[in-house]
Amino acid sequence: MDVFDISEIFLYNDFNIFFVLLGLFVTAATSFAAYDYLKENKFWYYILNIFYILGFFMVITTQSWFVFIIGWEIVTVTTTFMIIWSDKKIARQYFLVQFTGSSILLYVILLAFSMGYKTIGVIDETWLQSLFIIGVGMKSGIFGLHFWLPPIHSKAPAPVSAVLSGWVVKLGFITLLKIIAGPNQFLVILGFLMIFLGGIKALLQTDLKVLLAYSTISQLGFIAVGIGSGSTYGIVGAIFHIVAHSLAKTNLFINSGFLEKEYKSRTIYDMNKIWKRKPVSALTVIISLLSLMGTFFLTGYHSKHFIKYAFKGIDYLKILLHGASILTILYSLRLAWWLWLKNIFGKNKKEGEIKKRNFSPGEYGYSAILFLSFALLFTGIVPNYIYSRFFVEDISFHFLDGFINYIVYFIIAISILWRLDWIKTKEKAAPELDDIFKKVNNFLYKISGKFLEYDTGVFFESYLYNSIYNISRGIYNFIYTDFQIQLLWIPTLLMLLYMWITFII
């Protein structure tokens, strides 16, 4: 009935092993950071971590669709349980969203399976590739299905956010790397939409974790553009960017947890002069932000450069990519200003001086963020370490091209930010998944002209569940009337069937 030869289920080639090792490194870093950050249920958290590692191991190294989807469900369930101790409502919403994604993915996988693709490999039909993009989309934050990412990644506890945003969303893109071999326009369009949407929203945020969540969407757009370009340079760029973004975003989220506990608030305006209060965090945040911006000697430089080189012939896309790079530098630099540089030569010397520290990450926490930063530096300075695993050709462009581009972007970004006074927007509440459903529901009901009373008296039920409950109760009351009418269905249907076979057949 399906491919189930046990010797062929797992494939250990360079590609898979590399990503498994990267995932292990990132997950180990978050586990270390969680050691002093989480106060309770640590034992179950680490057990869940082990199963999570098993899950993504199955997703990355397997060749059989069946084991693939089992692995992904294990990842979903374990990450849900990791969130559940801090906020049950977010865990419910996260599980629902991820399960929807899994269901769509299961449908598309079985569609491919029934068409003859019995193992994970390159898929030829473009429409099937697009369906896969939609299937993976809900779990990897592709545009259109990304609405859940900012509310959930910002409300989860910091090590879990790091895991979710740093690695879980990449799994979909790793799969797309195996499936898509040629250019795919759909993915490129979606990728650009993601970059600009994420970037512009990130410019306006005041909450650190929400900003990082939108930045995740933006950077995932770069990966999508790289994969969709279809050329070797694009794919190399996508792989480099997966490495760069995993390391950088994990680092940033772990540090956001430390900073939140230290300053007791999540607004970036409250965290100032972090180099005085938390020097190690400050150093690692700067390294990660520089990598996101694409500074040379860090991995982000290589990835952005490769992706730009992939579109070397197409001018309008290159202009869009220039704009995307400027946007990334804009929001990263804004974050760096508010955290690091504001009042660095300051008038107010007292600001930022403390009597005692509120929170200390402990030796495991420090080692986690330092190792991540070191890995960023290492892969940046020695890109051949990664490049030589995948390709044997030589890199045929010059490094200094990108250098000049970078300086130009930097100058443009600083001047824009200086003009706009470093974009200090008003603080607003973190986004809620409920609000989105409320807006959709109100819109639909305004169109249909109806007005329904909503039963909000029930504790623990959110807006989505209430509206679903009311709709199904409406349908139920419509069908369930008298007992006699219920019995009447039997002779009605029987007569209809008899008349059909008598007169029509």
Binding site: M1, K88, I104, L111, I468, I475
Partner: protein, 510 residues
Amino acid sequence: MDINILLLVIIPLFTAFMIPLIDLIHKSIRKYFVFVSINVEAFIAIRIILNNFDKIKNSELFLDYHLGGWITPYGINLIMDPVALFFSTLITFSLYFIIVYSIGFIGHHEGKYYVLLFLIFAAMQGTILTGDLFNMYVFIELIAVTSSPLVAFKRDQNSTEAAIKYLIYSIIGGLFFFIGVIFIYFSVGTLNMAEAAANFGSIGFRMQLFIITTFLVSFLIKLGIFPFHFWLPKAHSACPSSISALLSGVLLKVYLYTFIRILWTVLDYNIIIDIGLDVFIIYISLFSSLLGHIFALQADDIKRMLAFSTIGHIGMITAAIALNTKAGFYGAMLHIIAHLLMKSGLFLGVGYLINYVSGHKIEDFTGIAYRHKGIFISIIVLSFGMIGIPPIIGFMSKWYILLGFLESQSYLGAALVIVGSLTAVIYYMRYIARAVQKVKVEPDLKNRGIFNKPIISTFYRERIVTAIIYLFTFLVVVTGVGFKMFDIPINSMIPELIDSQEYINHILGL
């Protein structure tokens, strides 16, 4: 002539008739007698499997028993072929666990309960093993008659209403079955299934269609497919929990067996395909499945919610069977096993937890997880299985059913299966979240120690009940990981379903 098949039917019948006599001796011997009897039955079922093991592996199993020694067209014969073996084993073992649970769970009117339960057991085995149409009708009516008092077991208004509704629908369903049997006898002249199958092609076309339609409506009523499902939620929620598990988990599978046996072996399914009636069956089953899941969203009572979920899943299984492809049958059979284990486990577990709560509305379900954490974790695992999360068997059966739908290019069916499991997440999570909610207990209530007592007051009964629920959870996970063990039984059934000529040859040739 294998007497073991006859013993499978006779032993529960004998037990049912002996229980009143045992009651005259001493009431407490009753449960030991019941336990001995189900052990003997299980032993005979295992003996049948072990004696014919190599024949089962080569899928050549065929046992029969002629009642009274009468030869084939004139007498009733009991047949065991791979399909019957599969269903009969499932029934035997699941009823074993349900009866052990009942020993611990039922506290009053046990004599009447066990008599009725064993009569149902004998009737179910009889339905599966018989080779004669009128015999099957008798057993189906016996099931209907003996399960109605069990539905009304609690003797309050709600249960009696539910039992009357259930009885009316069952009798109407049986009536249409009877009309079909009469017309087959009228046209073909015999009541033996194999003989009727051999001569079915020689009846006039209009008469064939009439018989097929009548049987079809009878099965739709019995299975609880959309326009005829109104009895199901009430009946499955008003009875004590072990009976809910029996009706919802096990009995519907017996009706699925009759559905397969009559429409594929006796009548010719190719006629149904030719006139396009199979499209009707598939679409009405899928619509019923969708409605079952939607109605479960608004159910305020946990047992009603589980009953609506049953409607959803049985619709899915019927649609997968009606596709008439290999992959469809495979998925449907695997889902029969999965749904039986999971739904029985859920009903038994929930029944235990809500035993001494005043009702089973959702308001009473608040905070119930803390009454017994182990059982609640089992309920969570079983709910995950119903949703379709690996490594529980619900996921594997969902995979194969989806594969069955997509291979025959019924994209709507596959989409409805996906939508069904998504809505299942919503309605199961609603109850689980409600149960985990912490409840404020007044201090003086807490001091009275009510919440520290076990739910069932007798020690060994509590142990039996919790052990059975844990056993179901264990089975669900073990069969999920080792789902390939069902490969041989299911694959041996499929050639026989698609082509019924072998069945006819085996019986008439003898």
